[in-house]
Point group: C2
Chain length 229, copies 2
């Protein structure tokens, strides 16, 4: 960890592999997690599973489960880890005003030629930008698009990857940069403005192609950062 | 090097920093390079500069300079390292039929909020796909989008990055995968179909943002590849 900031994070889509895995990693680093799902019972069951996994982890945060709207209300940071199908309707329905919202939503499509990015708003949009438009009183950033769910739930202390964070709010990005250390052991990398989520979201299609070809769970790392100051 | 294949590579845009740097690296690894420019004299001058840089490099290939069209005619592999402005007209004008064409063209735009990808064909296109449409008898792949020109011309034996290669032809991709070893010391990474150039091209905008923020020359590395077989 490189930051002392501890957050209460609602994970919308917290019962899916990406949300569950990120919630586990954040909790292991001391953040309190509220897994959200459409049905509170489902969220509670997965929260119990994550809590069991954390047994004996020193300094771990609390993991609970609630219905999505209650999860958001209980948190100051909201991670959107939902499928792109139905994304806009769900985001519009949640009480996100005043929250820091981290989107790791990947608008992808699959056909016989493999995975590829879905075109959002004629190429001038992304899931993260849609969330920002739908919730103008939320601070929306994009991050955690490219981390492997398998790795998140796996045994390695940290993933050998970087988390690239994009957004138009420095303070909002800092939250995701802090949380990234839970996953990678080092802060997230500031990748620029929110519109660059247009690149990070479909980049996952490249990693899926690599995974299929090489039978691995790939990620990306930013090289050259240690040249700086 | 992981391959014994040696190519004659025409570098269109060979007098720009990316083209010159890639030509230098390819020649250092034994490939013959024909730098191309609109004016033969300019290409010849840069070829002389690269040749001087290669003095004493054991096993280096020949580096010559020609006008673009003559460079293409002299080569079996053509690297497109040109600005996106004027790209389509230039590509349409070159005798590329039957050639393996590697595009590292990045359609980027810059405004006060930084670098971002230009929308090609309503979000359903890329420079590489445009080249493939304009030259249906060429084999077009995308690669080398994200390598830093500063690093290419620098002193390090190999760059600590990966070259991701996309394309619809396995044979075409193999050429770029081979050539990547000149730059990184290991083969390029097969990143899937040509349409995924839509992701690799604008990813350079993320790296430019990182470079500005952290004052570095960043690149990307694919993690997890050593898990495979």
């Amino acid at each position: 960890m490189t930051s002392d900031s501890l957050y209460t994070v609602a994970v919308i889509g917290g019962t899916g592999p990406q949300g569950k895995g990120l919630g586990y990693r954040f909790a292991k680093a001391g953040h309190d997690i509220v897994l959200g799902s459409r049905a509170a019972e489902k969220a509670e069951a997965v929260a119990a599973e994550v809590t069991e996994r954390l047994a004996g982890a020193a300094g771990a945060g609390q993991v609970t489960g609630k219905a999505n709207e209650d999860a958001v209300t209980a948190a100051d940071v909201v991670l959107l880890a939902v499928p792109y199908d139905g994304h806009d309707e769900l985001v519009a329905s949640l009480p996100l005003a005043g929250k820091t919202v981290i989107s790791c939503v990947n608008p992808l499509a699959f056909d016989k030629r493999g995975a590829h990015g879905r075109v959002v708003n004629g190429g001038e949009g992304s899931a993260a930008e849609s969330a920002a438009e739908l919730q103008p009183e939320a601070v929306v950033v994009g991050a955690f698009h490219n981390v492997s769910a398998v790795g998140l739930w796996g045994e390695e202390e940290f993933l050998d990857e970087d988390v690239i964070v994009v957004g138009d709010s420095v303070e909002g990005k800092q939250v995701a940069i802090d949380l990234a250390a839970s996953v990678t052991g080092r802060p997230g990398v500031d990748g620029g403005k929110l519109r660059l989520a247009r690149v990070l979201e479909p980049f996952t299609a490249v990693l899926i192609s690599i995974n299929r070809k090489y039978k691995v769970h790939s990620g990306i790392r930013v090289t050259g950062l240690d040249q700086g100051h």
